[in-house]
């Protein structure tokens, strides 16, 4: 099992994501200008400010050579996890429903939040049970999830902010969503920053651990 973690110009969480993946499997960085996914079994699109987030968050990264390959990989059923800016990129790429809007507060938020596992049936959450609460930090300015009416069936809501923990005004407290096939997931919280009890929580590791598990 090998993870590939994408590095765009302007990524900033790719090394944390790489180290998080390496707790559970092999992992290497993938360069945005390459087209070759180097035979990885899962792709992580990390947080940061890809291509400066010019125009709209994630709008330009979505057209990078590597993303063309990631889109093909995802359409063929390969697991792809987008975190924060990576979530925005996957929405822009049309791999996930909806879009991320500026936080309702118009402020950058950086805090620990609790999220509830709504769908444990994805490759990213199969190590969890429905209703499990995970403590994971968020840090973003553009994290208010929105999907047009009917575009997000309940089973595609993977994570929801616990009551009182919605940091950005996201519709229905949605914190993480998946595609119809369940093989592409995006979330605003940063599981890669919550993999060691030393930093307050290791709950984020459960997503990487789930992904690294051999499917039953």
């Amino acid at each position: 099992m090998k993870f590939g973690v994408v590095r765009f110009p302007g990524s900033c969480d790719e090394v944390d994501a790489l180290m998080a993946c390496r707790r559970f499997a092999d992992a290497d960085l993938l360069w945005h200008g390459d087209r070759d996914l180097s035979g990885v079994d899962a792709v992580v699109v990390p947080g940061g400010f890809s291509y400066g987030d010019y125009l709209r968050v994630g709008a330009i990264a979505r057209f990078s050579p590597l993303m063309e390959s990631v889109i093909e990989f995802a359409r063929a059923g390969g697991p792809v996890l987008g975190i924060c800016n990576g979530f925005q990129v996957l929405c822009e790429a049309g791999l996930l429903p909806g879009a991320l809007l500026p936080n309702d507060s118009l402020r950058f938020v950086c805090r620990q939040v609790e999220v509830i596992v709504e769908n444990p049936g994805t490759p990213f959450t199969r190590g969890c049970e429905a209703g499990d609460t995970l403590s994971i930090p968020v840090k973003h300015t553009t994290g208010c999830y929105y999907a047009p009416p009917g575009a997000l069936p309940d089973e595609q809501v993977v994570l929801r902010y616990a009551p009182g923990h919605n940091p950005n005004g996201s519709m229905d407290d949605v914190a993480g969503v998946c595609n119809v096939g369940g093989n592409v997931m995006g979330l605003m919280p940063h599981p890669e920053h919550a993999v060691d009890p030393l930093t307050g929580s290791a709950d984020g590791g459960r997503l990487f651990e789930s992904l690294a598990m051999v499917p039953a």
Binding site: A59, F63, L101, N103, Y146
Partner: protein
């Protein structure tokens, strides 16, 4: 291209501006929305809607309007 949030989409920038104007004494202001303006020279203007659909706007959350100017330079 004039790009603005679609009707009904949360527009906290517009709301913040709408609250700030009365504080300066400008009364009777409503429905403030903040978007962006993209200017460009293009040889074939028929390409512009596609540019908006694919890159310049996100049609899920934004609407766009193309304004053609003669001699915009």
């Amino acid at each position: 291209m004039l790009i603005r949030p679609k009707a009904g989409i949360l527009d906290p920038q517009g709301q913040a501006v709408e609250r700030a104007l009365p504080a300066l004494g400008f009364e009777g202001v409503a429905n403030v929305h903040v978007g962006r303006l993209i200017e460009l020279d293009v040889e074939d203007a028929s390409q512009v809607p596609q540019m908006c659909e694919r890159l310049l706007a996100n049609p899920l959350i934004e609407e766009y309007e193309v304004v053609e100017l003669e001699d915009a330079a």
